[in-house]
């Protein structure tokens, strides 16, 4: 008698848009170790800052909203003591999860950015917020045709797409209170056609600088487009919620642009001169002059909020066609992850089973697997810790 084949596990794999799909795009092998294997990063600087800023904005809105529910509108700017209290709270929460800023400099920077975000962005953003931290789920057909049969290790015809929208705003253009809202003005100005009177925008915070346009200036993944796809996908998932209004746009909010550092300004100047960024000072403007004259060792100059807000916001318009494009892109990534998982189960090896991406120097330099990664050749043995005397 012939044995049958053990039935495959029936499971729709859940894939989160940020943790899984963006993580895999960054580097498949790193994703295997850190996401599937849950190996912690030795310097989770970006993770700390990202979670810190998300936590700060969520907690600040929560406080504003609690007051609002009691009938009091207490918009920022708030006193430093209250801001410090919020920062302390979030820092403590992250520490309990094992996330630390590691250096005093990063902590100071994080706090400064957080305070600017609350005090300058908060007054414009908080009154628009309908819901914060909105969980999304949806199912998509698993692209089985793209997964070779030997690597189809589970019985599933769909995958579950999961994500969390940082903020959903409800905008009613006829609301007199929003007439002067800078955020609303900028959103409406960025839309190709006039939106309906009531609509919603989804906002995704990024604890980073504005991406370069169309992925120029690098050979790695094109984050300019990838973040767009992420927002499009959020819009798609959000549409199925009962309380949703027409989702006309998504906003990627690059929080670091609200409080640039010396390094940010240095990068900005480089990108302006090589035409790698889309939001630049007007020709002959005071801002252009400030940036031209600024040298790397000078203190960071005070740039007008309007300019910083322009740099921080990227409005992504939503349409059925753009959503379809985004979903197809993510389907392909899911297929690739499934293939890698199938290979590892089939061959019992990690390194050869997972796609590697050694094109992003920054990602590799901070990766704890860099010395044994077959594709990263700049460093092939571990170094001893050292600081210059």
């Amino acid at each position: 008698m012939q044995l049958s084949i053990r039935p495959k596990v029936y499971s729709l794999p859940p894939y989160s848009l940020t943790g899984d799909l963006l993580g895999f795009i960054r580097c498949g092998l790193q994703y295997r170790y850190t996401r599937i294997g849950q190996l912690p990063a030795s310097r989770p600087v970006q993770m700390w800052f990202g979670q810190f800023i998300h936590g700060i904005l969520e907690e600040s809105f929560r406080r504003f909203d609690e007051e609002r529910k009691k009938g009091t509108i207490n918009l920022p700017p708030w006193p430093d003591s209250e801001l410090d209290d919020i920062c302390d709270l979030i820092q403590k929460r992250l520490a309990a999860q094992g996330l630390f800023p590691w250096t005093l400099e990063l902590e100071k920077q994080g706090r400064a950015r957080a305070k600017t975000a609350i005090n300058e962005l908060g007054p414009e953003l908080f009154p628009l917020i309908h819901r914060a931290e909105v969980r999304l789920t949806g199912a998509r057909a698993l692209p089985l045709a793209k997964i070779p049969v030997p690597y189809q290790f589970r019985e599933a015809d769909r995958y579950e797409m999961v994500g969390v929208i940082d903020v959903i705003t409800h905008v009613q253009l006829s609301d007199p209170l929003l007439k002067k809202n800078k955020l609303v003005k900028k959103i409406v100005a960025a839309l190709p056609k006039h939106p309906p009177d009531k609509f919603e925008i989804i906002i995704d915070y990024k604890g980073m600088r504005r991406s370069t346009i169309s992925g120029k200036g690098g050979t790695g993944p094109n984050y300019w487009k990838i973040y767009d796809w992420q927002v499009q996908t959020y819009a798609h998932l959000r549409r199925s919620h009962e309380d949703s209004l027409p989702v006309v746009a998504g906003i990627i909010l690059y929080v670091n642009e609200l409080h640039p550092t010396r390094r940010d300004l240095t990068e900005l100047k480089k990108e302006i001169s090589s035409k790698l960024t889309d939001v630049v000072p007007d020709s002959g403007s005071k801002i252009e002059d400030i940036l031209d004259k600024w040298k790397r060792r000078d203190p960071v100059p005070s740039l007008p909020f309007d300019f910083r807000l322009d740099r921080a916001l990227k409005v992504v318009t939503i349409s059925d066609a753009s959503i379809d494009t985004a979903l197809n892109k993510f389907d392909n990534i899911v297929a690739t992850i499934e293939i890698c998982r199938g290979k590892e189960l089939q061959h019992g090896r990690v390194l050869s089973s997972w796609d590697k991406n050694a094109t992003d120097g920054g990602t590799c330099a901070s990766c704890d697997s860099r010395t044994f990664c077959p594709d990263y050749t700049k460093e092939n043995s571990p170094k001893l810790p050292a600081v210059k005397i």
Partner: protein, 771 residues
């Protein structure tokens, strides 16, 4: 929405597998009904629950977010969710094409977002509740995982003031351990304290009564135990943390005080799978939810498959569900038996049925009027049950290795009846598994056990077969772990100078440290040592960056050292089994980051050597100590999937919910004599920890003292364990053991047909053929 008839017709069209009558009774029941479903193995219970959920949505119009479905393990929860979503979307597609459904209804159906259904384990649901429905101004609790909680319990509870050495506590814990000092060390003491802590909440123990009612010989011990647990509790609280037990307790407290109304008002139906593994705390939570649903509560389970008493499960909550539900809601749930097994051959089902009824006393604890399993309409008679018994474990390993190799790497295994077992052309070793009470490769006395010998045997064959058995050895005794741990120690604290100043390190922990150090030194001294490893280790040991114009940083994350060393060990970064061991190390570092003063970092401050030493001491005590002491180890949740090309050895507990075309069950490879040391695994003379804890604590709970003796409960659990093992195979079941435990032999063993009256029911008529 749509009629039940349309629903079931569409399902059959899409899935080509009509539910049987019993399954339909589950699916068809009204949304407000309460069901008590007793589902034997392989009877399609997950499918029935999934279909009931879909029927509630599509026929009864219950919004998906109004349905709460939970189960016992993360894996089972994922499977249930997958079925609901996968089938749900298939049905929606069919509905959208079905012109006999009015267009208005089709539009309504199209708007249903099935993803909103709430599924998960009870713990994941509790976490979600506390973070999403928290009170204004409160913080979501931070989960202390097993690594953090065990480390805190060890450090704040047992090591504080040398309590682990307290004579009264030691005697008290030794009793819980079963009275033998075999395998009794700081790790097991910590685990015993953890069990006591968990059981206190799981059984809702009136703790102060327990403390004040101690017999004179135990009063001090209970008091010390209370100090240990109080300090552990404080350590969690001050960090804003909860462990899984406190998480559930917190949710119950809030539910009973009327919190979570937003959530409760949303829930209309609750379904719980694997209910036989529920404890009193969880039952209380479920009944609170059920109150919000006006009693629309469905439970599904199988008392014969209750394996988790050691995690606090109280199987009586399931078998007595009828009365317990009635006492809350004043009505009886509808009892439904699922009996048609679609998994196994007729021979296997028949064997499993006889096994379940072999012991007369066991029948009294089974759900009343439980019918036997029936085979599915297309089930073949199948291969007879096979038995392989040998005079010694070496011969057994040799012949078992031959059996496996011939099937999976040869032309097949010829049976005495002339049939040959062959692998499928597209099959592999993943179609088979060896199930054991324990997959440990060595006995507590250090002797090689069947899992080790089979590993060696298969490895020696051509072509060699590798074994996947990450829990085969105590992690601290695995050679790779010893070398890696030793290198970490030598890099952090060369020669163990600082180690000697760490106060309160138990002797067994320091012995392990020494063994690790010796292994590491041998490894580095070997000419085959990977180039560069010694330089890295020496640089770390001397805190010398070995780079001109540079100095050693004041603070370095320990992870730098770990990943630096991992570079030299492909087994840790390229092998899925090695990855699991590495994950234990890194999870333990994360625990240190969360609870330590130095946050998992090595401080080097020449001007303050005391501070530098303190950071290393913390790592020795909180990072390496728990691993060396066996306090933390490989967790089941670290093993995501079994590789197809390796021979898997797993415990019967791990096999729960799984099925294999060929299942090999170790029924007694260890049992050469009637020795008392292994009686608990074959013919118990007394109870083990969970039974002892029940006797200790249950008098102080609403469950009251157990009515059956500890020995009877130990027997009941063994029958359940082997019932689960025997019901895993689809086609072939092979029992393997020592000849002495052959039915009717000298060694009494419930796995080979003995009832608790010491009569072997299989002795006259063997239910298997010998190979």
């Amino acid at each position: 929405m749509i009629s039940y008839k349309s629903f079931i017709k569409t399902y059959i069209k899409a899935r080509k597998f009509p539910p049987n009558k019993d399954q339909e009774n589950i699916i068809q029941a009204g949304p407000g009904d309460s069901l008590f479903v007793v589902a034997g193995p392989g009877t399609g219970k997950t499918a029935s629950i999934a279909l009931r959920i879909l029927k509630l949505i599509f026929v009864d119009g219950i919004p998906p977010q109004g349905i709460l479905a939970t189960t016992f393990t993360v894996k089972a929860a994922a499977e249930l969710r997958s079925r609901v979503l996968g089938w749900g979307f298939q049905l929606l597609e069919e509905f959208s094409k079905d012109k006999s459904i009015p267009s208005v209804t089709r539009e309504k159906l199209a708007k249903i977002d099935i993803n909103q259904i709430i599924t998960g384990t009870i713990d994941s649901i509790c976490q979600q509740l506390l973070s999403e429905f928290r009170d204004p101004g409160t913080q979501p609790p931070v989960m202390a995982d097993e690594y953090v909680s065990k480390t805190l319990l060890l450090r704040e509870g047992l090591l504080t003031g040398g309590r682990y050495n307290d004579v009264d506590l030691d005697n008290f814990l030794l009793d819980l351990h079963g009275g033998s000092r075999w395998g009794y060390h700081i790790g097991s003491k910590n685990n015993l304290m953890k069990s006591l802590w968990e059981r206190r909440y799981q059984d809702q123990v009136k703790w102060s009564s327990f403390l004040s009612s101690a017999p004179p010989t135990e009063g001090t011990a209970r008091q010390v135990a209370d100090y240990v647990l109080s300090d552990y509790h404080s350590a969690l609280t001050t960090r804003g943390m909860v462990d899984y037990t406190l998480l559930e307790q917190e949710v119950l407290s809030r539910l009973t005080s009327g919190k979570f109304t937003e959530f409760s008002e949303r829930i209309q139906v609750i379904l719980v799978d694997e209910y036989q593994d529920t404890n009193l705390l969880q039952e209380s939570i479920y009944f609170e939810f059920a109150k919000a649903c006006k009693g629309a509560f469905t439970v599904v389970g199988d008392d014969d498959q209750s394996l988790y008493r050691f995690r606090g499960a109280t199987v009586e909550l399931f078998s007595d569900f009828d009365n317990r539900y009635n006492s809350h809601f004043g009505s009886h749930p509808t009892k439904i038996f699922l009996t048609t097994n679609y998994r196994s051959t007729q021979n296997i089902i028949s064997f499993t049925n006889s096994y379940a009824t072999l012991d007369t006393s066991y029948q009294s604890v089974r759900v009343s009027a439980k019918p036997p399993l029936a085979h599915g309409p297309t089930a073949p008679q199948g291969t007879p049950i096979l038995g392989m018994f040998r005079d010694n474990v070496d011969d057994l390993a040799e012949d078992l290795g031959d059996f496996i190799h011939q099937i999976f790497r040869g032309s097949g295994y010829l049976l005495p009846d002339g049939n040959t077992i062959q692998r499928n052309a597209n099959g592999d070793l993943g179609d088979c598994a060896l199930l054991c009470s324990s997959p440990a490769e060595y006995s507590s006395g250090g002797n090689e056990r069947l899992p080790f010998l089979v590993r060696e045997n298969l490895r020696s064959r051509t072509p060699a077969i590798e074994v996947f058995n990450p829990r085969g050895q105590d992690m601290e005794r695995i050679e790779l772990v010893e070398i890696f741990g030793g290198l970490l120690l030598e890099c952090l604290d060369p020669g163990g100078v600082i180690e000697t100043t760490v106060s309160g390190l138990p002797q067994d922990m320091t012995n392990t440290f020494q063994r690790w150090r010796d292994q590491a030194i041998d490894f580095v001294s070997d000419p085959a040592v990977p180039p560069g490893l010694e330089d890295l280790a020496v640089g770390w040991a001397d805190r010398d960056p070995n780079k001109l114009g540079h100095k050693w940083p004041e603070s370095v994350p320990l992870l730098d050292l770990i990943y630096g060393l991992v570079h030299f060990f492909p087994a840790l970064h390229d092998d899925p089994e090695g990855q699991i061991y590495l994950e234990v190390f890194t999870r333990q570092v994360s625990a240190c980051e969360q609870i330590g003063k130095f946050s998992g970092r090595v401080v080097t401050d020449p001007s303050n050597p005391g501070l530098s030493d303190a950071s290393v001491k913390e790592l020795i005590r909180d990072f390496l100590g728990p691993i060396a002491g066996g306090v933390v180890s490989v967790n089941e949740d670290l093993m995501e999937a079994f590789p197809r090309d390796r021979f898997c050895i797993i415990s019967t507990h791990q096999s729960k919910g799984l099925e294999f075309p060929l299942t090999i069950v170790d029924v007694g490879s260890d049992f050469k004599t009637n020795h008392g040391a292994h009686a608990f695994k074959r013919f118990p003379k007394k109870g083990s920890l969970p039974h002892i804890l029940e006797d200790l604590l249950r008098p102080f709970t609403s469950l009251h003292a157990p009515s059956r003796s500890v020995t009877d409960r130990a027997f009941d659990d063994l029958y359940r364990q082997f019932f689960v093992a025997f019901s895993r195979p689809e086609q072939v079941l092979l029992l393997v053991g020592h000849t002495k435990t052959f039915p009717g032999g000298k060694v009494s063993n419930v796995a080979t047909g003995w009832d608790r009256d010491d009569v072997c029911q299989w002795a006259g008529a063997l239910p298997f053929i010998q190979i």
